[in-house]
Subunit: 246 residues, 2 copies
Amino acid sequence: MAHVIAVSNQKGGVGKTTTVVNLAAFCALAGLKTLVIDSDPQGNASSVLGGTVTGQGSIYSQAQPVPCVQSGLSVVPAGADLLDQEAVLLRSPHGRFILRQLVAPLRDAFDVIFIDCPPNLAQLSTNALLAADHLVIPLQSEYFALEGLSHLLAYVEILRDEAEATIDLRGILLTMFDPGYPLAYQVEQEIRQHFAERAFRSVIPRDVALAAAPSHGKTILDYDPLSRGGIAYLSAAQELIHGFKR
Amino acid sequence: MAHVIAVSNQKGGVGKTTTVVNLAAFCALAGLKTLVIDSDPQGNASSVLGGTVTGQGSIYSQAQPVPCVQSGLSVVPAGADLLDQEAVLLRSPHGRFILRQLVAPLRDAFDVIFIDCPPNLAQLSTNALLAADHLVIPLQSEYFALEGLSHLLAYVEILRDEAEATIDLRGILLTMFDPGYPLAYQVEQEIRQHFAERAFRSVIPRDVALAAAPSHGKTILDYDPLSRGGIAYLSAAQELIHGFKR
Ligand SMILES: Nc1ncnc2c1ncn2[C@@H]1O[C@H](COP(=O)(O)OP(=O)(O)OP(=O)(O)O)[C@@H](O)[C@H]1O
Ligand SMILES: Nc1ncnc2c1ncn2[C@@H]1O[C@H](COP(=O)(O)OP(=O)(O)OP(=O)(O)O)[C@@H](O)[C@H]1O
Ligand SMILES: [Mg+2]
Ligand SMILES: [Mg+2]
């Protein structure tokens, strides 16, 4: 029975895709049958995991998982239809629950399923939040990113009230942490005070290896696992998997 | 007669808002009557320029410009209604041209108008691209950001064909440039080869001052104008203004 994890934050460029592909790589390394569903029309996760097949549709056109280079890891790529799905889902009466239905049959075939979300809280992200069991929020330790966090959490509460969402906040993951940034420690302190064990102990540092890996079409595990970014994502994956056992 | 500039890129976190508020600050410093229209529901530009007034609507509810702390600079804040506008604009027959009509009466009162866009190419961004005379594309010198550039340029072409868009590409502005990143020089070289004088000569470096300024509710001009980030945005503003005169 899979754990389904949405990785979402409407703030752009906070490390959603980087978090999905690298947590997934280490989960597969740990022996978990791992799937990544790319639900962002930008298709960045697909391009790293090697799934962009021209002409293929996305999960919303019943696309099936495609095995990645790394064993134990599969991807359902973004597909050309994903951009149009926003309007289709908006018009359809049960448009918010489509992904939940599409993910259901995949739960038996995998141990963990990650869903990469676009930088907004529109239909594709709403579908992911209603399909998932857990929410991981990558948070850049900077001012604008912090500003948007309460909005995202409020939206999840609305989905719990209105749409019987069962998603729990698995954790806030501090990303691109740079000790030279005055806000970095302030943000970390605030997050640990407010969220306690719902904030990952692992903190992802700003590390050039994490930005370079995707340009080689690789996860950090394949590109430079012993980099500071690699070690941090391994540690975050360990925390995530440990949490499954509880 | 104002120059209307859309600052857009569907890739998240590439420096759209940072570019809008800082170019605007230096344009006002140069004596231009400058307006920022915040068309991103996140409202990051509004929170820096001091315009977030609870209960006030956005440009789409006829909200009027509010003077900022810096003289010569005004802002039309994001407003609570902006998020709902996406659906409203999608349903309305001439929904793509609403912002063009709302901006028209403002052109006589300002010399330059910047429009901050959200990280997508949905209705709010489409409206901005159809309301503007010029497009500035902030581009992070990293792999995912480069991947999305051709998609953005293709979309602008579609708007030219389908919706008689008159927007020209004023320039690609390299942001968060970090010489320690292997891709930085590669991206710069590629951009200069393909875009020649449609790429700003000025390059914005990764500079902690640019990330710290918004947390003090300030533009870089008020926070640390002699920082590397401040000097780079001054230089980019000079290039932009010089281009107006041609
Ligand atoms: N810890 C890190 N250190 C350095 N660079 C990073 C780190 N995490 C991500 N990056 C780089 O920063 C950029 C933004 O990251 P990413 O694209 O994963 O964010 P995102 O939240 O998925 O963006 P979007 O909102 O567009 O979907 C990318 O170029 C990525 O390679
Ligand atoms: N040159 C720079 N050096 C260092 N930090 C920067 C620089 N430019 C922007 N930042 C910081 O990087 C983050 C992303 O920038 P910004 O929010 O302006 O991007 P954006 O494209 O507007 O994001 P979104 O897609 O969410 O609208 C912010 O925290 C900002 O303060
Ligand atoms: Mg992403
Ligand atoms: Mg922005």
